[in-house]
């Protein structure tokens, strides 16, 4: 799994590639949590375009960041999930709480308009 992060004003964008399992969930938490705690991050965009696999460890870490951001009035947005990953997200009921976008660009536009 590889993770890249960048900032757009108060939005943290994390781009993931590889398999989003227990190992990657821990890396994601280690990368993202200090940023959420330190900076005034209100939005987290997770670009899943390079993710080929996700299980409940990956889902759990996204849900954990959703809860964390909700407490401070922030939001999480998911971009570019591939079909197998999207299927797992949908089966888990994610679309009820988190918005999905076809691309990172579209997600960032939605963040700006929110």
């Amino acid at each position: 799994m590889s993770l890249e992060k960048k900032f757009h004003r108060d939005t943290l964008v994390v781009k993931l590639s590889g398999e989003f399992d227990m190992v990657a969930a821990e890396e994601f938490r280690r990368l993202v949590d200090p940023e959420l705690d330190r900076r005034q991050v209100r939005n987290l965009v997770v670009n899943l375009g390079g993710v080929s696999f996700i299980d409940s460890s990956g889902l759990g870490v996204i849900l954990g960041r959703y809860k964390k951001l909700s407490q401070s009035g922030g939001k999480i947005w998911l971009a570019a999930p591939r079909p197998p990953v999207r299927k797992i997200l949908e089966l888990s009921g994610f679309p009820k709480i988190i918005k999905f976008f076809e691309s990172e660009k579209q997600a960032l536009e939605a963040v700006r308009e929110a």
């Binding site: 398999e19 399992d21 190992v23 299980d55 409940s56 759990g60 849900l63 888990s92």
Partner: protein
């Protein structure tokens, strides 16, 4: 296809979950499973092995996990066995959204039930857990056809 059996024993390390997925995907690809089935099987084995690491051994890397994958005719059977702390209430552990960890969704057994034809859990507190799963290619579709007729 000839019947095949693979046994793999590994330490309860998060890094080994990917190895378990690879082994099962490799065996399933020798059978008549679709790519979509194989994706689901990878989720199933990931959940079963992650459960052993996180819950069976409380994240301690010193435990051992045995993965057995066998094809017999067109049936794929998987067994994931640990010698961890076991499950006191199996029914409760299998309930959707039941989790002992707030960062987890309690979906592991839900995926196993949704994606496999059969799921059996054998466990005793203090004696470990064995999760037995089986699936036939397209059997879910066959089941739907039978029940609608």
């Amino acid at each position: 296809m000839r019947n095949n059996t693979i046994k793999l024993e590994f330490r309860s390390l998060a890094e080994n979950v990917a190895l378990a997925r690879l082994v099962v995907a490799s065996l399933a690809s020798q059978m008549n499973f679709t790519l979509s089935d194989i994706e689901e099987l990878k989720v199933v084995v990931s959940e079963a092995v992650s459960n052993s690491i996180i819950h069976g051994y409380d994240g301690q890397p010193s435990g051992m996990i045995l993965l057995e994958a066998a094809s017999e005719g067109d049936v794929l059977e998987l067994r994931v066995t640990d010698s961890g702390k076991g499950i006191a209430d199996i029914q409760k552990a299998m309930e959707p959204a039941y989790s002992t960890d707030p960062e987890r969704m309690g979906l592991g057994f839900v995926f196993m039930q949704s994606f496999m034809d059969e799921l059996r859990v054998e466990s005793q507190p203090g004696e470990g857990t064995c999760v037995i799963l089986s699936k036939k290619p397209d059997s879910k579709d066959n089941l739907h056809n039978t029940s609608s007729n």
